[in-house]
Amino acid sequence: MDKPKKVKILKFHPEKCNGCLECEKACSMVHFKTKDGGDKSAIRIIKNGDRYQMHVCDQRGLCLDMCPVGALTRRKNGVVWLDKDLCIGCQACVGFCPINAMRKSVSRIQPFKCISCGACVRACPNGALELVEVKIDEIKEIVYHKLGV
């Protein structure tokens, strides 16, 4: 199988964001079929002073080597994907994510994360979100060397 070389990640334009959180609602719709947003959303918009910041997975894949059951893989499109049928809920990926972007909601034991599906991009009324393509080799990180030693 050819290894994926590129992956789409989210890009944020803070100047266009008005904090309406439509993106979070769309995201929780994808993952939990609710419009709750917040803890049930993989993307989070955080107000910092009078500006907004985005907090979301950057698809570096540091968690891939953490999973004891191999439930985390890089899919053909390059996205780091958690198979929740294989996941045994150990939270190692949640604990070890260097930017805390692997999420856990009280609704179920398995964590969840951004899959670059674009639902938030489509939901944003102001065009503050965008999917951009990057090369995996330039962003990927390996747990052993970065965190083990």
């Binding site: 199988m1 894949g61 891939l64 080597d65 953490m66 999973c67 004891p68 059951v69 191999g70 893989t73 890089r74 294989l86 996941c87 045994i88 809920g89 150990c90 939270q91 190692a92 949640v94 604990g95 070890f96 260097p98 856990k104 009280v106 034991i109 398995q110 990927k140 390996i142 747990v143 052993y144 060397h145 965190l147 083990g148 030693v149």
Partner: protein, 774 residues
């Protein structure tokens, strides 16, 4: 170097590939007897029943776990002790038909959200000590046993032919099958059975199978260990962890058990049905983050496992070298963890149970075997861990590749690396003094550092050779001491003082000469000299934090109780203090790691739904700890005389040892015993050694006095009926037995302090029969 982010299917170990004719192996199986059971879910950490198998009577039955049993014994090792008390007699020995091999789990065992939660506890009457030995071991068997429906497995009786016990949690069936054709040695047998019993021919199915095996070495020595498997989906290897101490594998093979196989239907994160899963997630994630941020600055477990201890022990003169004669060695840097880091396969995760991010189970893949029946083959070596490396430094083996070879063969033959290494180190010292020689050692040149002879010794055991030396030597140091003394070879005192065993079990790998509290940590124990009850060397020797007997006794009360608690719950001790919160040093009691103790309180409550505090955790342990000591008393080995330790663990036995650390010992004679420099200079080494010997022996007895008092035992080390009642352990048969033993001691005049108390010194109590008041 291997990079990470390798898809699981693509990872290769480079090991020699085996092709097994599994159909033929399976076709030769014959079901001896079987049993169907109703599958039921685990409730709040308990399966609420145990499984009993009698191999002689061909009987299988279930036993109910009552609320009373949970309240008194908690689980794990506690359950094991209860089941043994109900099934053996005070006369039961390791090879008695009624000896019972128990494998248990514990209420927290099998949660995946917190590191170190997959431990099994194994208990039986040990060949080495003739009392109960308990071992704590990783791998998937414990959690799977519980998920298959049982809190514990008991095996009594003996089979006539080699059998496999198969616990099929998928179909709710237990079968005992004669299995004649499989291999016996672990690395091959585990692979065969993992493939044979998996429901489908894929890695996911193989991961749902876990196996207990031993090996040829266990059949012919008293060092047999049990290997608990866990299938590594990246390496595609069934790896193993060892229940090493006390010859459990010897009992296993004596019962003619070739393997125990446990299979589960599914694995997911909530199979324990915990009362409060979100607390598990919260506490677990917090610890994962601590490990992520701090491990690399603390123990570096994720990179090198427990091997990081080698350089620390060498630096503090605590690494056993040449049979504990020295605590450091010029060649030691050759076996520092950096050397093993170069050899370890660097892929993650390396936990022996799901979710353990301490990840200390390191391996070397594709290791080319140098000697013996598997010479030239490439294999995965699990480890080496600190104890194995230090067992080799004890034999003066300083080559990492020979350490791997030793580690591999000990594991696959099913023998304990610690006992084997400590014993060989003693034989080597005897060889150096001429008490043993090539002729007396069945042709082996057992001089320090001869790794080839060490491996040949192990191969001889596995082949079942019958030479006089091999026959005795494979039964451990105690038997060799008796043999040497009986033969009249060498000085009896030298032999007794240098052979590092207590209660018949070999020491684990730390030099304790300069830490009185740690001498107690090895001697005043339940199963024999090991460090899983207390490791107080730094607290005592380096930091001088427990200067008085009272302080040391308090430490030798608290820490053994606390560490026992891990065994009651099916947990690993390492995530408690081998990772510490960043602000731990600023807390009231940093050695107890208060934040982590609180984690365990929360975990226990979150799984069981109970509401206990940290004091109750200690009380849970105290119940079982005293129960086990009482059982030792019952079996004739739980009094002061049984807590004897060899002088090599207290001080310098030989002049060479004294001279090698002359400044230290001379200084102590001045500072602690009031001699002046001129007196010291006039004395011969022998005279100084004698003074030190008497002083340290007396200190040890005083320590025992203080510890027995603190633990609520008589001055002869017997737990009292009053103490047992106070703990809520009111079994009338046990209370009666204890009273009889205390009365016996009273008649024999043994209820007296062991230390000599001079002017200004006081024993722990001025009341001669203080224990009656409790």
């Amino acid at each position: 170097m291997l990079q990470g982010q390798i898809p699981i299917d693509e990872y290769k170990t480079g090991n020699t590939k085996h092709t097994w004719n599994l159909k033929k192996l399976r076709f030769a199986h014959r079901v001896l007897f079987d049993y169907n059971y109703k599958k039921q879910e685990v409730q709040k950490g308990y399966a609420n029943r145990t499984l009993y198998i009698d191999l002689s009577k061909k009987e299988i039955k279930e036993k109910k776990v009552t609320e009373e049993m949970k309240n008194k014994f908690t689980g794990g090792r506690g359950f094991g002790l209860k089941l043994l008390w109900d099934s053996i007699t005070s006369e039961t020995r390791w090879d008695s038909v009624e000896n019972n091999l128990v494998i248990t789990t514990g209420p927290l065992c099998g949660i995946t959200q917190y590191p170190g939660t997959g431990k099994s506890l194994c208990l039986t009457v040990s060949p080495a000590t003739n009392i109960i030995c308990d071992c704590n071991v990783g791998g998937f068997v414990g959690p799977y046993l519980k998920f298959a429906g049982f809190d514990a497995l008991e095996i009594q009786g003996k089979a006539k032919d080699d059998v496999i016990i198969f616990i099929d949690g998928e179909n709710g069936k237990i079968t005992v099958e004669i299995a004649p054709l499989e291999e016996t040695n672990t690395h091959l047998l585990t692979e065969q059975l993992t493939y044979m019993y998996a429901s489908e021919d894929n890695d996911r199915s193989r991961q749902k199978v876990a196996v207990v095996t031993s090996g040829k070495g266990a059949e012919h020595s008293w060092w047999g260990c049990l290997n608990f498997s866990f299938y590594d989906i990246r390496r595609k290897v069934a790896r193993v962890k060892q229940a090493g101490r006390g010859g459990l594998g010897t009992v296993f093979r004596d019962k003619r058990i070739k393997a125990i196989v446990v299979k589960v239907e599914k694995v997911h994160g909530l199979l324990n049905n915990p009362a409060d899963p979100e607390t598990l997630v919260k506490v677990g994630t917090k610890l994962h983050r601590e490990i992520r941020d701090l491990d690399k600055y603390q123990c570096n477990m994720r990179a090198v496992g427990t091997g990081h201890l080698v350089e620390i022990m060498d630096a503090y003169d605590l690494l056993p070298c040449e049979n504990y004669r020295f605590g450091s060695f010029p060649k030691a840097p050759k076996i520092y963890s950096t050397k093993f880091y170069e050899l370890f396969t660097k892929i993650i995760p390396d936990g022996c149970w799901f979710g353990c991010t301490m990840a200390c189970s390191k391996t070397v893949d594709g290791y080319m075997v140098k000697t013996g029946p598997y010479k030239g083959q490439k294999v995965t070596v699990d480890g080496p861990e600190y104890e194995t490396i230090a067992a080799c430094s004890n034999m003066s083996i300083w080559d990492p590749l020979w350490i791997l070879e030793y580690n591999f063969y000990c594991d696959t033959y099913g023998i304990d690396t610690i006992s084997t290494g400590t014993a060989l180190a003693f034989y080597m010292e005897m060889y150096e003094y001429g008490i043993l020689n090539k002729n007396r050692c069945d042709g082996l040149e057992l001089c320090f550092g001869n790794a080839e002879a060490v491996l040949e010794f192990i191969h001889k055991i596995a082949r079942g050779e019958k030479g006089e030396f091999i026959n005795v030597a494979s039964k451990g140091i105690r038997r060799v001491k008796d043999w040497l003394i009986e033969k009249g070879w060498g000085d009896e005192k030298l032999i007794e003082d240098t052979g590092m065993e207590s209660k018949g079990l070999e020491y684990s790998e730390y030099v304790t000469k300069e830490s009185l509290a740690m001498q107690g940590g090895y001697g005043l124990t339940l199963k024999g000299p090991q460090h899983d009850e207390a490791w107080l060397i730094f607290m005592d020797m380096v930091n001088n934090a427990i200067p008085t007997f009272e302080d040391k006794a308090e430490a030798l009360h608290y820490f053994p109780m606390w560490r026992t608690w891990f065994g009651l719950n099916g947990l690993c001790k390492l995530p408690w203090n081998d990772i510490e919160p960043a602000n731990n040093a600023e807390t009231d009691e940093p050695t107890k790691v208060p934040e982590h103790v609180q984690n365990y309180v929360e975990l226990f409550n979150a799984v069981t739904g109970k509401k206990v505090d940290k004091k109750e955790l200690i009380l849970q342990s105290e119940r079982c700890y005293n129960w086990q000591r009482a059982m030792n008393v019952w079996m004739g080995r739980g009094r002061r005389k049984d807590d004897w330790i060899p002088y090599r663990s207290m001080g310098p036995v030989t002049e060479m040892e004294y001279i090698s650390r002359k400044d230290r010992y001379d200084k102590q004679l001045i500072e602690k015993q009031g001699f002046n420099k001129e007196q010291i200079d006039k004395m011969s080494v022998k005279e100084k050694m004698k003074i030190l010997y008497d002083y340290r022996q007396d200190q040890y007895q005083k320590l025992a006095d203080a510890v027995y008092y603190r633990r609520g035992w008589t001055p002869n080390g017997v737990p009292t009926p009053q103490k047992m009642r106070q703990l809520g352990m009111d079994d009338p048969r046990m209370l009666k037995m204890l009273q009889e033993k205390i009365d016996e001691d009273e008649k024999a005049g043994l209820n007296v302090w062991g230390g000599k108390y001079g002017k200004g010194e006081k024993p722990p109590s001025i009341h001669p029969r203080y224990w009656e008041k409790w």
